[in-house]
Amino acid sequence: MCGNAGPWLEHGLTQEEYDRIVKLMKREPNYEELSLFGVMWSEHCSYKNSRAQLKKFPTRGPQVLQGPGENAGVVAVGDGLGVAFKMESHNHPSAIEPYQGAATGVGGIIRDIFAMGARPIASLNSLRFGRLDDNRTRRLLSGVAAGIAGYGNCLGIPTVAGEVYFHPAYQGNPLVNAMCVGLVDEKKIFKGSATGVGNIVMVVGARTGRDGIKGASFASEELSDSDPDKRPNVQVGDPFMEKLLLEATLEILERNLVIGLQDLGAAGLTSSGSEMAGRAGNGLYIDISKVPLREEGLAPWEIMLSESQERMLLVVDPAKVEEIRKIFDKWDLVASAIGEVTGDGHFTVRRGDEVLASVPAGLLTDQAPVNIRPQREPAYFQEKKKADFSRLLNCGDWADLLKKLLASPNICSRRWIYEQYDHMVGLNTVLRPGGDAAVLRLPGSRRGLALSCDCNSRYVYLDPRRGGAIAVAEAARNVACTGARPLALTNCLNFGNPENPEIYWQFVQATDGLAEAALALDTPVTGGNVSFYNEYNGQPIPPTPTIGLVGLLEDVEKRVSSEFKAAGDLVYVLGQSREELGAGEAHWLLTGRDEGQVPEIDLKEARRLNDFLVEAAAGAYLRSAHDCAEGGLAVALAESCLIGGFGLEARWRTDISTAAALFGESQSRVIVSVAPGNRAVFENLLSSREICHVHLGLVTDFDFCLEINGESLNIPVAELAAPYNESLARMVKPPMNEDAAL
């Protein structure tokens, strides 16, 4: 190690990568140049280990206005409007500093959206933590929720939906994935391109400081016990600054003063500058002596790699610089000309007239090695298919198990979290959090937007291919439950270390499943994010490819929510219920084991069910629709009762076991309620569309009464409501004097 360590090591590069750089540049890079390669060829910026697999995703369709490659994807939603949306991870920063890590994760994805020229209208998030009976988990959850709230609430962007799960495998490496959705005029979609030689490069917003330096490299390493030392790698967010930046940026875009723009995210000026140049096939120089700084004495590479938040890079016509300055001045923000677009194809860093680094932009952005890693099927994959479900099959007290499931961390109401988020600001939220998907009305239109985030990582762990497909199918079904047609998806692929062949196998399998489902359900992938190296002291997280999905409602007045609406309505379960106890939440609750066969997913059947839900909602036949997910039919029925404040009288004779009927997690199933007057037309539609279904019973004003094969559960709704509604708050902050009760 000592003495003969190569210069590449300090920059996180391998010797092969260094040799490749020398070959491509036809000379040895200097220190500054090598630091540019260090971040641009990091996994986080270059996707060198994932690129080859991401090519499998379907990315086209008549609805897609902008596919992957820009700051965010855009889909058409009619009336000349586009919806820009994207999801990104901020896992490692949140593990170290939960409040700022989560806050800046939200801030970064919001900038990606308004960089497209879109006004952000909603945020979502997907979170994973370790065991909730652990103090560190409680601190992380409280900090992450407060960070998301602190940032999004201040900006006035409603946080309308999300998901959170707890599992010991996330103990040291929690996941924080943030998604943002914005609205843009189809004709005014902006791109991150540095076109037009001679145009001026400006940096606007916050000043540049030392925070978050090398965050991109940090995101490309595993976590370990020594990580508190990495706190300086975590950026600090200033949501007020971002609000000003958002308004000022939208104002200059509105006035057509900008040619191209991009968020300054991971790797700061280096990645934004080289990416903008690379996309246009141009060159670009940045004079670091013109970059407004927060403090004196930053080294050139610090200025180029700083991840100070709330900054954007603009490319503008020289004649417009003054007008842009004036607008930013109105918002008390700095806007500085720091460089120029050039015709030489080089990304150049200067200090005054002195050239510090000059590299062909394309080498930084497109020439990182594309690695196809070796892969190996892990031994657990076959072993864990076998499972002993005797505890569940012989549980006996079904009512007690249902209550325990409803109170358990993975199923109980998330109200304690989403009430910390302002989910109404903007006056567009017409289906609030707590159901399958949020719905927003689209201003100036009859249409509405349905949004959902999903991933059951236990399924993905046990069968990555099937689990990846199920994640897409569930997100699409959640959106379809509101009556919306699933349009397109973004993703955030959270995995362990791809250099481990078993992790890479998980990644290849899961992306295969994701691609198959996206194709079958006609929901192209318009962008996303890969987060590798999610490991703590060598223990990888379960593979977690989170899906963020956008759907379109033709008539927002016909949106359908998940809770029962009126006593006397008929209750059905749509879809096929099978003897499937594997990978279930109930088995996990009873045994603490992740095992068994993941439920089957028939993508044709999933598509047919989605189409049916959209058609039935448009006909106004559905009073409610609720996806059957973790905890199966019993939990889904209970949730529809609890949220609506109703009871149930249902009876079902079936060939499958009572345990599977109640708690099995067979896919592509939805609980619906239908007004009695619509029975005939609804059932005709079911049979003409060949939707497998069972009429279970009625919504009532009384207890939760469910009889399966002669075994019955009779529970007062209040006895289900209390554990469901209150347990998360109690688990996050156990009152001192209730220790015994817990």
Binding site: A149, N153, D238, P239, F240, W331, Q420, H423, L427
Partner: protein, 239 residues
């Protein structure tokens, strides 16, 4: 009598309910409101001024503490003296207390968490320019969305507010009972909204604009805007 009421929504850096307030006002009254930038040193004699919610100046230092020094606040004061109706919602309420146009202060919520949800309010004074469209004692539903909404005031100040019937809205349960635990933020005497001595300035933490159209889940808030509108055209209200 003219049915035209001129209304302005003040925009501070960090305001984020400015558009919502204008949209709620228009939904309730059919008339558009103007936006006025906080740096403006002068504004026309608007009949109604709305100070919207949000995080003016990031809520740095203290909610509303910086906004009260914005140039436009002199104009708000001028219009208040002139008799225009001024309504401060959420952060707007905080700004009005900081500017001493209303008494008291808003503290962090009892549980120290930001809370966004629908809550119930009892209309304690249905004779104000802001509440005349409600029945006395009516239980209405508005959303709240704040981290610092626990109203407090000196004992003498509280007595004055009570004696002068200036507490117009109190937090209550769905049945209209006012008990300490029905104030989600720990507000003193369950106070959710109050008016100044002259009765032309209202500050409240809950957001009427957020339930001003039935598609949003209810329209109790619409009546507040309509009450202000009627007071302004002189067709309603008792002042």
């Amino acid at each position: 009598m003219s049915r035209r009421v001129s209304a302005a929504v003040i925009v501070f850096p960090g305001s984020n309910c400015d558009r919502d307030c204008a949209r709620g006002w228009e939904a309730a009254t059919g008339q558009a409101a103007d936006f006025v930038w906080h740096k403006d040193g002068a504004m026309p004699d608007y009949d109604v001024v709305i100070i919207p919610g949000g995080f003016s100046f990031g809520d740095y230092l203290r909610c509303g503490a910086i906004a009260r020094f914005s140039p436009i606040m002199n104009e708000v004061l001028r219009l208040a003296r002139r008799g225009s109706r001024i309504i401060g919602i959420c952060n707007g309420f905080q700004i009005l207390t900081e500017a001493r146009l209303l008494p008291g202060a808003l503290l962090r919520n009892r549980d120290l968490l930001f809370i966004c949800r629908d809550i119930y309010l009892r209309v304690e004074n249905a004779r104000s320019d802001f509440t005349a469209g409600y029945r006395p004692g009516q239980v209405i539903r508005y959303p709240i969305a704040h981290g610092e909404g626990g109203f407090t005031v000196s004992p003498a100040g509280l007595k004055k507010l009570q004696d002068e019937d200036r507490v117009v809205l109190r937090y209550c349960d769905p049945e209209g009972r006012v008990a300490p635990d029905s104030a989600p933020n720990g507000s003193l005497d369950n106070i959710a909204g109050l008016i100044n001595e002259e009765g032309n300035i209202l500050g409240l933490m809950p957001h009427p604009e957020r339930l001003s159209e039935s598609i949003l889940g209810g329209d109790d808030g619409r009546i507040m805007f309509q009450s202000i509108f009627e007071a302004a055209v002189g067709a309603g209200g008792l002042n």
